[in-house]
Symmetry: C2
Subunit: 230 residues, 2 copies
């Protein structure tokens, strides 16, 4: 087995209540998001992970399969698993700077609310927040616009106990993040956001009516934004 180029082993705790596949997946995801693993870098194979962490192949496989489904890696039979192409997979920076970013491009930023709902008892969601499984969340999905053109599809999950009543507000042209800070006194704890996006090529740009090179959105992944009171 070839040594990994100094990436180091992840901390996998078999006694943890968190599933092994989940610890492994999140560990790899963090390495990708932090840039330790770069686009097109090779990710350890299923059998390498099996050896490295003394787990079964099916467990390693599940971690990689979920990363693939969420757009973090791609896999090729006979070749291996690799970090996916650069996507807009940023944290707070992108989250808060959409308006400024659009203004820099000489465009007016906007948003269209597609849906808003209260969710309760979602175990997987709660796990990502380290919250009680019965805790309520507010889910907000918005289409981010630049000069009226759709730029990205954004999904946010908020812990409702920290922002009660927020579901009554209209965020069509109101900053969600500014509201949370100013109205609810919240500061960002952890924030993650995944939006599968790409840069418009010439013919897509023509169709969308934007300049080539403008980021556009073929379709959305499974974005999650998290927030906690500090």
């Amino acid at each position: 087995m070839v040594m990994m180029k100094g990436k180091g082993l992840l901390r996998i705790d078999k006694r943890s209540p968190l599933p092994i596949y989940y610890q492994l997946k999140e560990g790899l995801r963090e390495q990708i998001e932090s840039g330790i693993l770069k686009p097109h870098d090779r990710v350890p194979s299923e059998r390498e992970l099996e050896e490295m962490y003394h787990i079964s192949r099916m467990t390693a496989r599940r971690a990689l399969s979920e990363l693939e489904a969420e757009g973090y890696i791609y896999r090729a039979r006979g070749r291996g698993s690799f970090v996916a192409e650069p996507k807009i997979r940023q944290g707070l920076l992108w989250l808060t700077s959409f308006t400024e970013d659009m203004r820099d491009r000489g465009m007016e930023a906007g948003a269209q609310v597609l849906g808003m709902e209260v969710i309760a008892g979602d175990e997987k969601l709660a796990r990502r927040f380290g919250a009680d499984p019965t805790e309520e969340f507010v889910k907000i999905q918005r289409l981010r616009l630049a000069d009226g053109e759709p730029m990205a599809l954004e999904t946010s999950f908020l812990r409702r106990r920290f922002c009660e009543g927020i579901e009554w507000l209209d965020f069509t042209n109101r900053s969600l993040y500014k509201t949370l800070q100013e109205e609810y006194g919240l500061r960002f704890g952890r924030a993650e956001q995944t939006v599968e996006a790409k840069v418009a090529d010439e013919f897509e740009a023509k169709l969308l009516g934007v300049k080539p090179g403008t980021p556009c959105l073929p379709w959305s992944g499974s974005p999650i934004s998290t927030m906690a009171r500090r």
Copy 2:
């Protein structure tokens, strides 16, 4: 084991090149879409499927897990797996009648193109069409509007060989299906479409600015529309 109420066994062919989990998943999906299995009906448990088809539990589990991920069923630890809530999960009817449906509600139908791209070498996609793995597809994603309000997110995959040049057209306010029929002489073979949708409740209706009861879209599932020359 309790007998299923006359649903009958699916045809699972272990010698088929199609994976067992895939045959099982598609069979169950068809039973759900055709109405043989109705919302909140119980789906056979993993261990029942294991016995019924003489397969391992992990194989049965994969079929059910994918159905869950695609919104067809929900699962509850200790209770079982059940057909999911009524969603707009219709075929051709809905696909073609969006404009008429909206007109009946006194609204003007429209569409916003979110993205359009040519895809090649997607094995899973090709499999759904029974096409060669290297075949090219055109992916079109549109936001369906009624009186300018987003109603649904629609994703279509077309076999490019049957509609070359279609990626140069602007479908913002042009019927995709009419174009395919009139310009390319295509008739619908198989068409499936899944859009995770729900009816707006009172507070959501207020936020979206539509009448309560109007269908709206919290977020999209994994819709696939297929089309073939006949």
